[in-house]
């Protein structure tokens, strides 16, 4: 990939982020008109901001990569990310806003009137936030590696540093205008190249990809395999090899590999002639693709696991919840969510396009472990020339915007919870300390744990969120008999079991088969456990129902029109 345009694009995004972080205040409204100053954020602006913060590296790069690797079943990811907002709208949006809570711990404390539950929820918020931050930083590392050949740790560290600077400097995260702009930037960065790609595809004679067959190469292509991989050949294949295959070393030798399975060592370079079929990578037992393996074992279960996790997990993501506070009331929060659905849905029309074109034009990426890079490589590969480079630079800038906005939103949310509920005392200095802590832990995670595809890792964060926060929010809002002990039981059993499952999967403790599949996609069983434990725990402790439940429920559900009108009639009464 040519670096001459991509690096300035990335640099521009990073620089803009730091500047906005440092001088964030300057661009908030300055006026002497009270009417303008006290105008609250409307649904469409706030929705763009929510979408901007929400569309992460997993959406920008990960989905296309997974589509490239595993085919159309992966389309459930974007569908789930979007449908999650529908579930949030249906059960949570308006009551959560009316509760006046800024964070999930706030909601837990306000609803259950218990500091213990608040503290436990804080722990889960921090955990889920960290889990979600890891793939952001990994994705940044990968992007920078593809663009410049820099070592993989550098990109993640760079994003982490920029986020800490921007957040600690005191700006960026909450400025609605900035996050809304990020949405439109990301949309443009995918949409414009996509238009050109489709045009190029049209000019190419509109070839069709056959998804159930191995993809054929459209030109001579050389591939460097970074990690050991097993390939299965259905027919003999002639390749030029530099490296080791099946334990034999080659140096720029032309070899015809026989039908059957071959093991290619890491660092080997293969050059395929034009028109040859790219061999399918065997599901190997290597730790690098745990989820891919389990998916191949039990695809239907994996799909359901994904659906449950994403549909129910969105409502608990810390950076999403925080944004709803900006809505002036519950009714606006509801309308905002509908707009978010539309905006996110519009965005998610694009990554599948890249995935499909990737299968056509860059099928060799499946071998390299760099499938997430498809979006970045396609413009150069398909269009080429100066135009391809410029479009590639646009995509790269968009990708970095995705890392930065999501990472800063998450860091902000996690740091807020850390400074409020975990670290001893409060104040600006502590908030900065919390920011550093909120970034360092996931950075360490990103550097230590490699090889989990970006979108898969995000899926795990969703699973934890779905099994802990979803029961808490849904039961907290709709069920009067929820008690603090019940909530604790549900959080610990549901969220705890999901966390343990994710930990075991990432740690590679369970190799293969059903146990591994169950652990890699925990939501199917951990969400029911969370709900059941919460309900049964509450029914077992009927004496612990919070004293003000009735009043809290009234506040959560009473429409604004009624409260406002009552104030008005009360005022009316006073005037007489």
């Amino acid at each position: 990939m040519h670096q001459s345009y991509a690096i300035p694009a990335v640099a521009a995004v990073v620089l803009a982020t730091v500047l906005i972080g440092g001088f964030g205040l300057r661009i908030s409204r300055t006026t002497s008109d009270f009417y303008v100053a006290s105008r609250t954020v409307g649904p469409s602006l706030n929705a763009a901001a929510i979408s901007g913060e929400y569309l992460s590296a997993a959406s920008f790069l990960g989905i296309a990569g997974l589509l490239l690797l595993h085919g159309p079943d992966m389309l459930w990811y974007p569908v789930g990310y979007t449908a999650g907002y529908l579930v949030l709208l249906i059960f949570v949006a308006a009551p959560l806003r009316r509760s006046g809570a800024y964070t999930l711990p706030d909601f837990a404390e306000g609803r259950l009137e218990s500091r213990q539950v608040r503290r436990l929820v804080s722990v889960f918020v921090v955990g889920a936030g960290w889990l979600y931050l890891v793939p952001q930083l990994q994705g940044a590392g990968l992007t920078l590696e593809i663009l410049t050949g820099a070592p993989r740790w550098l990109g993640g560290t760079l994003v982490a540093a920029v986020v800490v600077l921007a957040v600690a400097a005191g700006g960026m995260r909450s400025i609605t205008f900035v996050q809304a702009f990020q949405y439109w930037l990301k949309l443009t960065a995918l949409l414009v190249p996509a238009l050109f790609l489709v045009l190029a595809w049209q000019g190419d004679g509109r070839p069709h990809a056959e998804f159930d067959e191995p993809a054929g190469l459209r030109q001579q292509q050389s591939v460097r395999v970074t990690e050991p991989v097993d390939i299965r050949l259905n027919a003999p294949l002639a390749v030029t090899l530099t490296g080791a295959v099946d334990g034999r070393a080659y140096d720029d030798a032309r070899v015809t590999l026989a039908e059957g399975t071959h093991r290619i060592d890491g660092g080997t370079r293969l050059t395929f002639p034009e028109g040859s079929q790219v061999p399918a990578a065997e599901p190997s037992s290597s730790a690098s693709r745990p989820l891919a393996t389990s998916r191949a074992d039990h695809p239907l279960y994996a799909t359901y696991g994904l659906i449950v996790a994403t549909f129910l997990g969105t409502m608990g993501l810390p950076h999403v919840v925080v944004r709803f506070y900006t809505s002036p009331n519950g009714r606006t929060a509801r309308r905002t969510t509908v707009v978010v659905l539309a905006l996110i849905g519009a965005f998610y029309l694009l990554p599948p396009l890249y995935g499909a074109l990737g299968r056509l034009y860059a099928p060799e990426l499946t071998l390299t472990g760099h499938a997430d890079a498809a979006v970045l490589l396609l413009p150069e590969r398909v269009i080429g020339g100066l135009g391809g480079d410029l479009l590639g630079a646009l995509v790269a800038g968009g990708a970095f915007a995705a890392f930065l906005s999501t990472a800063s939103g998450l860091t902000m949310a996690v740091a807020g919870v850390l400074s409020q509920d975990v670290l001893p005392s409060r104040g600006v200095r502590h908030f900065r300390l919390a920011t550093v802590l909120a970034t360092l832990v996931p950075l360490a995670g990103a550097l230590l744990v490699t090889g989990v595809p970006v979108a898969d890792a995000v899926g795990m964060a969703f699973a934890v969120s779905a099994s802990s926060f979803c029961p808490l929010l849904v039961l907290g809002i709709w069920w009067r008999r929820l008690t603090p002990p019940g909530a604790v039981a549900g959080l610990l059993l549901g969220g705890g079991s999901a966390t343990v499952a994710v930990g075991l999967t990432v740690g590679g403790a369970v190799g293969s088969g059903w146990p591994h599949t169950l652990l890699a996609w925990p939501a199917v069983w951990s969400v029911p456990i969370g709900f059941l434990a919460m309900v049964l725990g509450s029914l077992a402790t009927p004496g612990s129902v919070p004293p003000h439940t009735s009043a809290t429920m009234t506040r959560l559900h009473l429409p604004e029109s009624l409260t406002v009108r009552q104030t008005a009639t009360a005022a009316e009464g006073e005037r007489k």
Binding site: P72, T82, R334, T337, H548, R555, L562, T569
Partner: protein, 124 residues
Amino acid sequence: MHRPPGHRTQSEIDEQTTLGAAYVRSLMRSQLRAGLTAFGVLALTAATLPLFFGALGRPVVVWTVLGFGCYPVLVLIAWWYVRRAERNERDFARLVQGAESSPASDGAASASDAAPASDGTEGR
């Protein structure tokens, strides 16, 4: 006037009348019904689609349905739910206001004046 933090405001204590709770419960039930209907449609679709795709075995259908077709449906369900939820709230407001302002004639006048103003955005 001054209460230490953590204590409830007077107005909230007032809210705990049994009659008030009954009203709120009825509102919650109607909202939950709307929510469960929307969620039921979503869950049923999401539960059957993978089986359907598996039985069909044609990737093109998966690409079309999941890649393009489902987003308008999601937005449609959302739009239906919001309309329904706001209608529930409006009906509830009307119910409560009717109950409270019928004895005092001047109060009823001001309430009915206010009602169309806030409902104006809906347009029935």
